[in-house]
Amino acid sequence: MATTTSAAAQRQTGTDAIIQCVGVHKWYGEFHVLKDINLSVRKGERIVVCGPSGSGKSTLIRCINRLEEHQRGQIIVDGIELTNNLKNIELVRREVGMVFQHFNLFPHLTVLENCTLAPIWVRRQPKAEAEATAMKYLERVQIASQANKFPGQLSGGQQQRVAIARSLCMSPKIMLFDEPTSALDPEMVKEVLDVMIGLAETGMTMLCVTHEMGFAKSVADRVIFMDRGEIVEQNTPDEFFTNPRSERTRLFLSQILSH
């Protein structure tokens, strides 16, 4: 056990970190939503972030592609520090894919157009090339047959798979998942999780905010537990689930695993 923890500690301070948060604080008005967050993510690492609602976990990953601004501390993604520099923000966003709770597909574009929009306008790919890439990823999320439909014609699970494919089309180095299954009907959760597990197997760096503990156990390298804006505990899934250290973690796990 001692070896795992020291290895984890070494990982955190290692220089191969692709995401590094140092002493990050954020406030919404008077509300202190992120408190002194220190986090370092290796390339290829799969991290699950969990915690009660309002604990700041979504805010944390939204800070990583600067959909939210942090007010103190440093966030460095792929060697670029996130500041008010718009160019840097756009550079980071190209490399960081994001999947939202409510999919946020563009309803006025077909599935294929959803996937090719950013490659064409951001990566400046020729249309045919962008479409070929898009079809490859749509194939991978098993939705290629729906490529010419509009998002409104698909089920929630299908839409979320399209959203994942849309992010992958930008060939990101990091994928952020913000509660990707919590807006889905129960029978659709599995199809999305299967896609995410498949993605994990390719070696993608992933940061997932989710309550799917099964997913955390089978895929994650590390589980992070947040509560009231701070990281309370982080550990390997085995340790995290069998031997939680903090009282708050234990309480949370007992609530979430009881049903």
Binding site: N104, I120, K149
Partner: protein
Amino acid sequence: MTSESGGAGRGAHSGFTLSINDPTVRAVVFQVLIIGAVVLLGWWLVHNTLDNLARRSIATGFGFLEREASFGIGESMIDYHPRDSYGRAFLVGVLNTLKVSVIGIIVATVIGTLVGIARLSSNWLLAKLASLYVEVVRNVPPLLQLFVWYAVITESMPSVREAFNPLPGVFLSQRGIKIPVPESDPVWNWMIVALLVGVAAAIAMTRWARARQARTGQPFPVGLASLGLIFGMPLLTWLVGGAPTAMDVPRVQGFNFVGGATMSPEFFAILFGLSIYTAGFIAEVVRSGIVAVNWGQTEAARSLGLSSGNTLRLVVLPQALRVIVPPLTSQYLNLTKNSSLALAIGYPDLVSIANTTINQTGQSIEGVAMIMGTYLTISLGISLFMNWYNKRIALVER
């Protein structure tokens, strides 16, 4: 379940017995009664009208349109003389209505869009100022606003001799606004041709740019290049044509101006009154259209790395326009209908010319029918366009 089809549940279809309890029979009887009543009312009105007309010995029909109008019209887009017919006078009115409506729609759209966006600005002061504009303008009758604008010109502006001269050649006075116009020169005609060529070239270039981007992935600054073509072509023509600069500058002669172009106080009041009033409503339409696009759409686009300009152009606007266009068209229709308020300040629109015609000829039915017919044609045209547009842009849903 099939109650919609009428009486299936009761087995009334077993025979041909017609009963008043059969919904089908009821429906027919009810409709016959209503339509009969409408027809009867119509017949009664027509009967009374014919009777009254005969009593006053007024001839019906549109024959009067060919008679000499013998009244002058202050401003006209086509040649008109009091010796011309009522028909031509009416045409002048229709054109004047269209003129003020079209220019008004453009001005109102520009102001309304700016104010609508300003209301959403992150600049608190600007947002509050825009709200103030909307709340003031929408809650005061448009007719009162017209009177105010008209009074501003006719009562607060100086007389012709003391005309306010803010820019060289521009005069503001009780007689309206005078601006210099270029003296006629064949180059001006060629510039119009060049403008059209520029528009055509811009369209062709947009197509080419799209095809090239699809092929190579390289985007092309279409907007800037289009602007360059559309404005550059006429400019080039002007330079090649010897760059004529002779202007017809208005100047005071006696009690009035000579030369230049005029915007009459009436036209000014109706144009700005209507535009500013309607812009208040358009601002709300634009604002709610933009707000209607979920913030998640912007976040998704930004997280894909799209720039804020491309996010607006490719993601937000196409969706906002779906929400904006239907109520926007109805505001355009309102502006067109409200242009009939011109009558109150003496701008010769179609209603005011029809009014004069009715007063002179007594052909009130024909006059009112012509007003209504013209407006109904415009309304119908706009509704048809709307239906076509709505079908074209409707989101496909399950």
